[in-house]
């Protein structure tokens, strides 16, 4: 024992050891905490990029979809529609000749009827795909026309309060998207809130368009998982995001659907 250090000399050494070990432990924890945070940040950044990429993909799909709709509507109107009209004219001319062959009279009458129906259906499809009112007169008249046609079906009653100073927005692309959003919202009201009534308020002041949509249907919880991931709401959200419009979903279960859309009208 003579060779060993006395207790008062050993104690500072032990204390130093304790301090060094504790400091090393703290440094190790801090280092791992820091590196883990960096990994998490990198993961979050890559997730953000992935979400942005997905959004762009969906938005591109919407753009392509709209282009296709327009092309099909034009083809229907210009190619098929006009040719059907020509066929209808020929049929009328055939009737006018007065050379009636009794056994063909019935067939010709049926053909005329079928042709008229086909012309009407193709016109409706073309209108639905790309309403000419939207293209020619702007968003507000197109909405009025849409509401009139829906009210005429008697499935739902929509009251429009239009306080807009303008009929047409500056950007056509925004008009198409706002129109599609309203179409989607109304379709949902018809689907889920059968027989309910809807109040649609449109205000346009100082280049700001405000749309308020409220129905007295069963409503829903926008935070519920089944609704958060639904195609309809996702589509609405993507279209509005694309045109930089803000939207608030104030819908509540058993309190009806309630949406507020704000859009700054600029090119």
């Amino acid at each position: 024992m003579e060779d060993s250090l006395p207790a008062d000399q050993i104690f500072p050494l032990i204390l130093m050891g304790v301090l060094i070990m504790t400091a090393m432990a703290l440094a190790l924890i801090a280092y791992f905490n820091y590196s883990r945070r960096r990994i998490l940040q990198a993961q979050q950044a890559s997730q953000k990029i992935e979400i942005k990429y997905q959004e762009e993909l969906i938005q591109n799909n919407i753009i392509i979809q709209e282009k296709e709709r327009k092309r099909i509507a034009e083809d229907l109107h210009d190619e098929i529609g006009s040719k059907l009209n020509v066929m209808s004219l020929y049929l009328h001319q055939l009737k006018k000749t007065g050379q009636s062959i009794e056994k063909f009279d019935g067939i010709i009458a049926d053909m005329g009827e079928a042709l008229d129906k086909t012309i009407s259906v193709s016109r409706n499809i073309a209108h639905e795909l790309m309403p000419p009112t939207l293209d020619n007169f702007g968003l507000i008249p197109a909405i009025s026309e849409l509401l009139e046609s829906i009210n005429a079906t008697g499935q739902i009653e929509i009251i429009l309060q239009n306080r807009s100073e303008v009929k047409k927005l500056k950007d056509k692309w925004s008009e198409i998207n706002l129109y599609r959003v309203l179409q989607e919202i109304i379709t949902n009201s018809i689907k889920y809130g059968k027989g309910c009534s809807v109040k649609l308020q449109i205000d346009y002041k100082d280049s700001q368009l405000n749309i308020e949509y409220k129905d007295d249907g069963p409503g829903y919880d926008p935070l519920a998982d089944s609704n958060k991931h639904g195609m309809g709401l996702g589509n609405i959200s993507n279209r509005l995001k694309m045109i930089n419009a803000e939207w608030t979903n104030a819908s509540k279960l058993k309190s009806g659907t309630h949406y507020l859309i704000k859009y700054i009208d600029q090119l």
């Binding site: 304790v18 070990m21 090393m24 432990a25 190790l28 924890i29 791992f32 990994i39």
Partner: protein
């Protein structure tokens, strides 16, 4: 005298915090959570051994036999806790290794150092192994973080940090306490440092267990 006094009350405070942790564990059945079974058993064992140890110390009786039991129980339970965390399942071979080391510790207590002496060998071996497991968990933590237990992972890392700080700090204390047995004043200083480390350990453990038992539920927008 002052050092003894402070050390004693810090130990009481540590015991109080440990009883709070135990209360939360039992009240919320935290032991049912995956990975926490052995940890909770460790808290229960610590409490059950510390209570008689404190009573014996109060009556100035040698409570070192309890330290021998505690060292073995602590080693087995914490090592099993880490094995489950690191391997995410029970590994039979490692369980045998742990049991063998525990047996060696028992032999040390009976035949080498004796149950009325300080078990510095067993304590040092135990702390070095547990410290290593704690560091391995740190390295493994990234893969654990990516699994489904992200919420509890944060608080498991707090438990790990508590073990890491306590074992690394107290390693030198238990390793060298043998040399200071003759000087009670130096030994008291050493126990004061151990009490401080133990208190820090108990605070972090209580915080982690509290957070696991009462998670703050965030509502999604």
């Amino acid at each position: 005298m002052t050092i003894v006094f402070i050390g004693k009350y810090l130990s009481y405070l540590g015991l109080f915090l440990m009883s709070l942790t135990l209360f939360i564990i039992l009240r919320n059945r935290t032991y049912r959570i995956r990975y926490l079974k052995y940890f909770c058993l460790y808290i229960v064992t610590s409490f059950l051994i510390n209570i008689p140890a404190f009573i014996m110390a109060y009556h100035l009786k040698n409570n070192l036999p309890l330290l021998h039991i505690f060292t073995i129980a602590e080693f087995v339970l914490i090592a099993m806790f880490y094995v489950e965390l690191i391997y995410e399942k029970r590994v039979r071979v490692l369980a045998y290794v742990i049991a063998f080391i525990a047996f060696l510790m028992l032999m040390n207590s009976i035949f080498i150092q004796g149950i009325y002496a300080f078990n510095s060998y067993a304590k040092t071996v135990s702390q070095v192994i547990l410290l290593s497991l704690s560091i391995i968990f740190l390295f493994k933590s990234d893969s654990f973080n990516n699994s489904g237990d992200v919420r509890n992972y944060r608080y498991l890392s707090f438990i790990n940090a508590a073990f890491l700080i306590y074992f690394s700090g107290s390693l030198f204390i238990f390793m060298s306490s043998q040399f200071l047995l003759e000087s009670s004043s130096q030994l008291n200083k050493l126990w004061l440092i151990n009490s401080i480390l133990s208190l820090i350990f108990q605070i972090i453990i209580l915080y982690a267990v509290w957070k696991i038992a009462y998670p703050r539920i965030r509502s999604s927008p």
